[in-house]
């Protein structure tokens, strides 16, 4: 069964809570810059990318990190690559 946007977002929130326990990712808007809005630095962002890879089995090349800015970017990227 194909993964849904809701499942992807729930997993993203869980991963963000893991790397930034005092953040509130549920409060993110679809087009908010995730790093900026939650105050996540580049090292934590790298861990977040690894978490996405492990959770969804999607290999995210480093050259694509710059495309994953907003919650919407991340959800669409996972949807596209998890189904391909």
């Amino acid at each position: 069964m194909a993964i849904t946007e809701i499942q992807i977002k729930e997993t993203i929130f869980k991963l963000l809570k893991n790397i930034a326990p005092d953040s509130s990712p549920e409060a993110l808007g679809q087009e908010d810059d995730v790093r900026e809005t939650l105050g996540i630095d580049s090292y934590d962002f790298l861990n977040f990318m690894i978490g996405l890879n492990e959770e969804f089995g999607v290999e995210i090349p480093e050259t694509d990190y710059g495309k994953l800015i907003t919650l919407n970017d991340m959800t669409q990227y996972i949807l596209a690559h998890a189904q391909s």
Binding site: D22, S23, S24, P25, A27, L28, D32, D33, E36, T37, L38, G39, D41, S42, Y43, F45, L46, N47, I50, P61, E62, T63, Y65, G66
Partner: protein
């Protein structure tokens, strides 16, 4: 010789300091501050930008609130007004600490990190660091590995911030660090594809529990380093 002015500043300010710094922010910076979910992150952003504007304003002889910034593809800020001043700057923050570096006529990048536990150290280092760096970190005494990881991290990040490149180039920059910070100069083994330039990469003496580094596109640099903690008015 390029002179680099470097400040380490605490970001946790009292309300009057914060109000002072907030008045300096541009409308887009104020909007960015308002988007932070947590007040702590918002206040540290305001303090960092306020201090940066104050220091740049002093160097340029201009009111802090008149400065305008533009942003590169990976978010690196540059001076848009006044244009063509020759001043370049970079800032970094981790937890309650920030680093601000200013110089003239040379690309510059800084980074600092609080040393913290790394649950997947071996995996992370194998994927994102060069094989020699990975081997050095994993063969160090266990108690030293996280510090060594973040020493490499801040050196690489400072360089990538100076060039305006993102984390995608992390593995293409290979360095060699000595046994302890500042004991030996950082040796650059390989650089990502970027215009051939002489680079200076230095580790910095910071507050306990933090490591940091600076990268400057210049053959020779002199660093003027100052440290201010919370509760002091830096500018």
């Amino acid at each position: 010789m390029a002179t680099v002015h470097l400040w380490q500043a605490g970001l946790d300010c009292d309300r009057s300091q914060l109000a002072h710094y907030a008045q300096r922010l541009s409308p887009d910076e104020q909007q960015r501050a308002d988007r932070f979910v947590k007040p702590l992150h918002r206040d540290r952003f305001i303090a960092g930008r306020g201090i940066l504007r104050g220091l740049l304003g002093q160097c340029l002889g201009i009111a802090p609130e008149r400065l305008q910034f533009s942003y590169g593809a990976h978010g690196k800020p540059d001076l848009a007004y006044p244009a063509n001043s020759g001043w370049q700057f970079n800032l970094a923050h981790s937890e309650d600490q920030s680093l601000i570096a200013l110089t003239q006529g040379a690309a510059i990048g800084v980074d600092l990190e609080k040393i913290r536990p790394i649950p997947q150290l071996d995996q992370l280092t194998a994927r994102f660091y060069a094989p020699d760096e990975h081997a050095q970190i994993m063969s160090a005494p266990i108690a030293d590995r996280e510090t060594l990881f973040f020493r490499y991290w801040t050196c690489k990040e400072a360089f990538l911030k100076a060039t305006g490149e993102g984390l995608g180039k992390l593995q293409h920059l290979q360095l060699a660090l000595g046994r302890s910070a500042q004991e030996e100069p950082v040796r650059i083994i390989t650089l990502p594809e970027s215009p051939p330039t002489a680079w200076q990469l230095r580790e910095l003496p910071l507050t306990d529990g933090f490591v940091g580094a600076i990268a400057v596109a210049h053959g020779e640099i002199a660093i003027s380093f100052n440290s201010f903690q919370s509760g002091e008015f830096l500018c």
